[in-house]
Symmetry: C2
Subunit: 192 residues, 2 copies
Amino acid sequence: MTENTVLTKLLDLAVELIQTRGYNAFSYRDLSREIGIKTSSIHYYFPSKEDLGKAAMARYRENFNQSLSRIDSAVQAPTEKLMRFSELASGTLKSCDKICLGGMLASDFHTMPDSIREQVRGFYNDNEAWITKVLKSGCEQAVFNFEETPEKMAQAIFALLEGAIISARIFKDESRFHASMNSINALLTSKP
Amino acid sequence: MTENTVLTKLLDLAVELIQTRGYNAFSYRDLSREIGIKTSSIHYYFPSKEDLGKAAMARYRENFNQSLSRIDSAVQAPTEKLMRFSELASGTLKSCDKICLGGMLASDFHTMPDSIREQVRGFYNDNEAWITKVLKSGCEQAVFNFEETPEKMAQAIFALLEGAIISARIFKDESRFHASMNSINALLTSKP
DNA sequence: AGCTACCTATCTATGAGTAGGTAAAACGCG
DNA sequence: CGCGTTTTACCTACTCATAGATAGGTAGCT
C-alpha cells in the first residue's frame, strides 16, 4: 500500500505546502506543526531545505510520470490521451487552493538552488516530451493537423495548462481551466 | 518626464524584485540596499509590505493599461493588436530574469492579503477584457473564426501568455515565448 | 511652528541550521 | 541465547541572520 512513514508524510506535506504557498512561504515549522515532530528532527530526514525541495519536486515528477504511463496503457487515441492529461492537470487544482508544483517552482525559479532548478526543468521536459509524442502519433493518424512543429505545439499546450491552473485558482473558478482545455482541440485542428 | 522621486524609485524596484524573486522572497532590506535609504524610511512611504505590494501591482497594472491604450491608438487591425500585445508581454521577460508581475503574484496568491489579491484579479480582468474586445472586433471583421466565446478564448490566450513567459524564463529561451505566440494565430482561425 | 524626509535604535517573531543528548530497536558475535 | 555495540529516530536547547514593524529623534525647508 501507500507507505506511511514519517519521511513520505513529510514529503507529501511539503509538496502540498509548496503547491499552495510556494517555496519561500513554507517552513520546517509548518511541517513540524502538522506532522508532530520537531523542526530539528526534520533536518534528520532532510539536512537542508534544498534537499527537501529537490526531493519534493522529484517525487511529484515521478508520480506525474507514473500517471502518464497509466494513461498510455489505458487509452490509445491521441485525443483521448490529451483529455486524460488535462484531467490529470485539473486534478492538481483540488478545490482551487493548489497549483501545479512545477508551475509554482518555475515562478520561484530565481530564488532556488540549482539542484531544484534541474528537477523543475526535468518536469517540464518530461511533460512536453510526452505531449510531443502524443501529438506526433496524432499527426500520423491524421487526427491532428497543425502548422507548428509538435515540439513547439507541446510547449504551447503545456504553457496553456500551467497558466490556466494559476488563473483558475485566483478566480476560484475551475471552469476557467476546462475552458482552456477546449481551446486545445481547436489548436490541433487548425490547418485548412 | 518620468518622475524620479524616491517613492517611484521604490515602487519601480519593488515591481522588479517581485517579478524576479516573488512577493515572499524580497524584503525592505533589498530595497534599502539598492535605493540607499534605511528600511525604516521605507515604512514612511509604505507603512506595511501590504501597502507596497498593492501599490506595486497597481502601478504595473496602470502602466500595462496605458500600453494597451497606446496599442489601440497605434494600430487598428485585430491581428496586429494581438501581435503588439504579445510583444508587450515578451518585453516583461527582459533577458529572461523576470516574469509578469501578475503571473508572479497569482502564484503567490495564497500568501497575500486581500487588497493585493484584488489588484491581481483586476490585472487579469483588464487584460482579458482588452483581448476579448479585440477578438470580438476580429470576429465582426471575419478575420477570426473560432468556436469558443471571445471571453473564454481571451482567458485561454492570456493563460498561454503567462505560462509561456514562465517557461521561457526557466529555460532561458525567449523563443519558447514566441513559439507560443504563433500558435495563438492557429487558435483563432480554427473553424473549418 | 510645523511638516517632510529621513535617521538611530529597538522589538518581537521567524527563518534555517547545529550541537549534543537519549531511549529503543537492530545487529554482530562468541 | 545473550551481551555489547551501533544505528535509528527522535528530542532539547541553542545560534545567528533576517523579517516586518515601531518609537522617537532631527535637520532643513515652508
